[in-house]
Amino acid sequence: MTNGRTSNQALPLPAWGIRLESRKVDSETGAIKKMPPPGELIVALKQNIGVPAETIVQPGERVLKGQPIAIASRWGLSVAVHAPTSGAVMAIEERPIPVAGGGTGESVIIEPDGKEERYAGYVAQMNSKRLPPPQIRNEIMEAGIVGMGGALFPTATKLNPGSGIQALILNGVECEPYISADNALLTERSDQVLRGAAIMLAALDCDECLVAVKADMAEAQAAVQAAIDALGDDRISLVVVPAFYPAGGERQLIELITGKEVQAGGLPWDVGVVCQNVGTAAAVAKFFDEGEPLISRIVTVTGDGVGTAANIEVMIGTPIVDLVEFAGGYTDDAAGLVMGGPMMGFSLPHDQLPVTKATNCILVAGQAELDPSVREMPCIRCGECARVCPAALMPQQLLALARGPDYEALESQGLQDCIQCGCCDYVCPSYIPLTSRFIEAKQGLWENHLVSQRSALALRRFDARGERLERRESDRSDELQRQVDEIGPAGEIDADALRQLKQRVKSKKPGDKT
């Protein structure tokens, strides 16, 4: 499907999406900075989609850098969590964590001792590419590696699609404005990303890897190309993706590169593709090359509200307040705090929240950087939202249906296919918060499903009980017949005795033991 595509070949422009100012320069200029351990690390146990990991340490215990402090739960999708540095476990308690809508999660609080003493349980493995795929996946699970683009899907699970994978796409598109963590990673550490790619290819038993980089990231493109040339691995090539938002969405990227659509309810591997973030590939390489599990990540700290915008390699669990301090602290202009980019990122109410494996960007916005909520006007059906929607929905129609709300129509018109990219809000001349409405409607739709499923289940059980009672009744009369047969032919027994027997059986209450 992608065979014969030369590197650097530009892809056709998408029929959807918007062009956004990239605003990445600030953080692109400096090299990735490494932040020393802060005074306290708050390591949340839920660092993945699915079920939180289960702690295996006790308060007061000393832990080493890279030591597992929680193991994958058996109750669902889950990955291990490790100590980002050496120090003492101070407590295991509920702490606020950065998730959309706010919330708390059980966290291991570690006080670093500054010694950075390494855990000896993991060692570098030079033959990583020759390991059998199941072992590679087990080790990736063990290393606590999840999708670093923000989705937090356990990587090992995504690397287990069965046979028939034609291509691994490494997503380095980073289409949201401001965020440049992947850009910095590719520019400085392309070789590490490609080593991770090779391991992933081994796990997938696949011979093609496409590294997708956005058209306006020239430095990263050059670095990737140089690394490919240096590696001499002809399975890996560079693909330049148009600078459109949301070209970095998994399904959108697959559509752009392969021309194939992942069906609703399906997964990328249905079309022979596995998509992984470049940061995830780097994390994989780091574990196999250096024996270091996923305990740190690159975070873009940017915006007019922060002293010096930069890409910072930071330990998981670092409080955002310390991270901002390291980046030069707040400026007087600081007005808003967003985790992620301005399109899909969510507001953080305060900065006493830890960096998680999903934190790709901390945007400390100045007064002028975020659009204030403006007075909403009625929809004038201009259709711009439908023009930009990457899922080919008609947001203006969905909006009208969500007012009802008409859940049946919302479902048939694709509410569930909305990826919440925010393009429709961006182009709406009436400033209607469409995405928020759709999130609300999705919640309502889900609750509606729940109610009807409960009712369907109850009806099924009720009918089954009816059948059971009927069956019991007929079993009883069969039993009666059998007893009658046992006593003898009907002619040999007098009618009165039989009637008495039948009455005796009938008068027994249901539920009594016979």
Partner: protein, 345 residues
């Protein structure tokens, strides 16, 4: 440090409805200038009356409906409706006719359907259609364009004002000067009298391609429309489809029988063709929603316009064509929904 919370996305990139509507008004300026040049200042009086009545009735209805008056008045939508209606009317229209049409447009066609964004029909065209059936003679009364009047002048401002205020002809002005036939009218009437097209276009009323003056008015309107396209305030689907819907039958019948059918160029540059293509049919509220739907919608308007012009009772058919296609919008929307990503091949 604590921060205020907002829902994503945190960036908005669109210009407001008010800005869009203002651009539409700017785009009408070239057409207005040419209209005034050929037909005099009467059109300005139309616009003034329509604007005052539109804003007044809009404010009144908003107050009755308990909606924020200032917010909705400043969206410029009522003004756009008023100006479009006023520019469709003959330059000599008594004020009460303009006012009646405007009230129908704003109160009946717009607010009784729920106001901005909810009207099923194009308000300006509802107003125009009401006037067309209520005051057929006044609506057909266009003066001669400047370059073919005996004195090469448009009517004096005094005459226009007098007619505008009273609806009666001043003693010193002949009725002919006040109301000549428009080229579309003339074609329709004379074809009915068994004259042929080459004979008809020999009249002084006609220029090289279409009627004197009208050629330039339509060209100037198209210029403004082109600017709207360039600014992406309107999209190409409806104008292109309507153009095709009008030109295709015009071309076919012209080739088959040029003696009884005006040329495609005549259709293109006569009456309200360009105003319809760029400013009326492109009203998003009453148009179809999807791109495919908009192609069908525009095509329908073009074809119906040609049908009415050719075989209908009215010389121009844009207003009725638009209203008829407005009626068809729910059906079009239902069957032209784009295939959602990930559903079927």
């Amino acid at each position: 440090m604590k921060f205020a919370s907002n829902a994503a996305p945190h960036w908005l990139g669109a210009e407001s409805v008010a800005v869009l509507m203002r651009q539409v008004l700017y785009a009408l300026v070239p057409a207005l200038i040419v209209l005034v040049w050929f037909f005099g200042a009467g059109i300005i009086l139309n616009i003034l009356v329509a604007a005052v009545v539109a804003l007044g009735s809009e404010a009144l209805v908003l107050r009755i409906r308990k909606r924020p008056v200032g917010l909705f008045i400043s969206d410029y939508s009522a003004l756009v409706t008023a100006v479009l209606l006023a520019m469709s009317l003959p330059p000599l229209t008594p004020w009460w006719i303009t006012a009646t049409g405007t009230v129908f447009a704003i109160v009946f066609a717009k607010h009784l359907y729920g106001g901005l964004g909810y009207n099923v029909f194009n308000p300006a065209m509802v107003g125009y259609a009401v006037l067309l059936v209520s005051f057929p003679e006044d609506m057909a009364a266009w003066p001669l364009p400047r370059n073919i009047t005996p004195d090469q002048q448009t009517l004096s401002l005094f005459t226009v004002l007098q007619y505008w205020a009273t609806g009666s002809v001043p003693a010193d002005v002949t009725v002919d000067a006040l109301s000549a036939a428009t080229p579309l009218n003339s074609v329709k009437g004379q074809l009915g009298m068994m004259r042929t097209m080459p004979e008809i276009v020999g009249d002084p009323l006609f220029g090289n391609l279409a009627g004197h003056g009208w050629e330039w008015i339509n060209a100037a309107t198209a210029l403004g429309g082109g600017w709207l396209l360039y600014r992406r305030i309107i999209r190409w689907q409806i104008p292109t489809a309507m153009l095709a819907g009008l030109l295709a039958p015009a071309l076919v019948f012209y080739i088959v029988d040029p003696a009884t059918h005006p040329s495609p160029a005549f259709h293109l540059l006569s009456g309200g063709t360009m105003l319809g293509i760029f400013f009326i049919a492109t009203d998003p509220v009453s148009a179809a929603a999807s791109n495919r739907g908009r192609l069908i919608y525009g095509l329908g308007i073009g074809i119906i316009t040609y049908v009415i012009r050719n075989w209908g009772a009215y010389p121009d058919g844009i207003a009725f064509a638009v209203l008829l296609m407005n009626l068809a919008v729910p059906v079009i929307d239902r069957y032209t929904r784009p295939r959602i990503y990930g559903h079927g091949a």
